[in-house]
Symmetry: C2
Subunit: 242 residues, 2 copies
């Protein structure tokens, strides 16, 4: 099965959570919008998919995964589908629901990380909502991030993975997503993250272990891994970092 | 199977999406936090579940469903689990993923409806973020609500349900959730919703049909259905309605 991922080509964004799973599983996939338009791909192909007014199951927004006849959107839903197929989640239904529950909680944190710099509207520029962003980012940094990370640290601590895995006793897509969250927050809020580091030793170690996995290391060193930037979900604006 | 729902007792909130499914299926369930503490229930039971530091799969936030040994959180995840068990989603995997995808998009809309009145922090009062709320609510009303509802109207129009169902050819939990969204937005933003009504005739009709289903009508007329209020996710503040 060759998977087709459709996502904005210039950013990691929410698409990155899907990319990390595909890369770790060495899956056969095409990152469609980053391929040449002359080959029928590129952003034009993404736009065609988004604007197809005849689609019976239209996606609301990227990322979108095409798997044969299936067209699946919503990041966590894509991972729910891919998890068992890529061997990145335990087999039992209870464990899959738990993995998905964690992924949805990660999605909530990611949405809040976005709103820290865009508290008024995704349709306005950052400089048009800078004052509001300063207030929201302070709350995000000092209240929300500690609450979420304390929760995830507790999951690692209490789970059956001996502090090494979020779900079960082996690597899952949730570990990869957790890596991405720690990396993104570390980029966006280096000062705030330095302050909580002591309290999230298990998450920090998980981030490090994921980064050192051979396929992850190869991916992160490749041109396929886009850099963090101030066009992305996680953004570094020093004035929002306290 | 007797299901136990754990949710804040005073509001509809996100728990309502689960309640509607349980009610429509005439499922055997207990709304634990609304039952007496002297029977071991009430808010104290919810807090025990939230603060259980030994739980291997701790929930981050309500709603939480207990089904035998399973403890499941995240609204859309609960419905993913309940859907097939309550006969409220088609059997095929593709249709279930599609239903879940729509439910996650509804969850995104609900989170934005919340942030329309709390754009800075859920930990502050509305009056402490009123100025920011006015800006965010305007964007929500004039840009986001039309975008989401136009999308959902298109789903109804193009799907196999002949405009009557969001997923497949029979009632699903997504229809019930869509009813709740239309009801909530109508309560919170009556003027804005009157303005878009003409463009969402299928959604309006769906809302009406769900409301008239015998079990839904009985539920909505009962004391189990809490009223909308300005303590809830959907809030009516005239100054935010344009």
């Amino acid at each position: 099965m060759r998977y087709e991922l459709y996502y904005w080509p210039g950013i990691q964004g929410r698409g990155e959570f899907v990319r990390l799973a595909l890369e770790e599983a060495a899956a056969d996939y095409v990152d469609v919008a980053r391929m040449p338009e002359r080959e029928g791909m590129g952003v034009a192909a993404l736009m065609r998919l988004l604007e197809d007014t005849r689609a019976a199951r239209p996606p609301f927004a990227p990322p979108i995964l095409r798997a044969g006849k299936l067209v699946i959107a919503q990041t966590a839903n894509i991972l729910l589908f891919l998890g068992p197929r890529l061997g990145l989640v335990p087999k039992a239904e209870a464990a899959r629901l738990w993995a998905h529950q964690l992924q949805l909680t990660i999605a909530d944190l990611v949405a809040e990380a976005h709103d820290a710099h865009h508290p008024i509207s995704g349709g306005l520029y950052y400089h048009e909502q800078k004052r509001e962003a300063k207030r929201r980012a302070e709350d995000f940094r000092t209240k929300r991030v500690p609450k979420f990370l304390d929760y995830f640290e507790g999951v690692l601590e209490r789970g059956p993975g001996g502090g090494r895995h979020m779900v079960g006793k082996a690597l899952s897509y949730v570990d990869l997503s957790m890596f991405q969250v720690i990396a993104g927050l570390g980029y966006a809020f280096p000062r705030a993250m330095a302050r909580v580091k002591r309290k999230i030793s298990r998450l920090t170690a998980l981030h490090q272990r994921v980064m050192e996995r051979p396929r992850m290391a190869a991916y992160l060193a490749s041109a396929r891994r886009l850099p963090f930037s101030t066009e992305d979900v996680f953004r570094h604006y020093p004035e929002l970092d306290g």
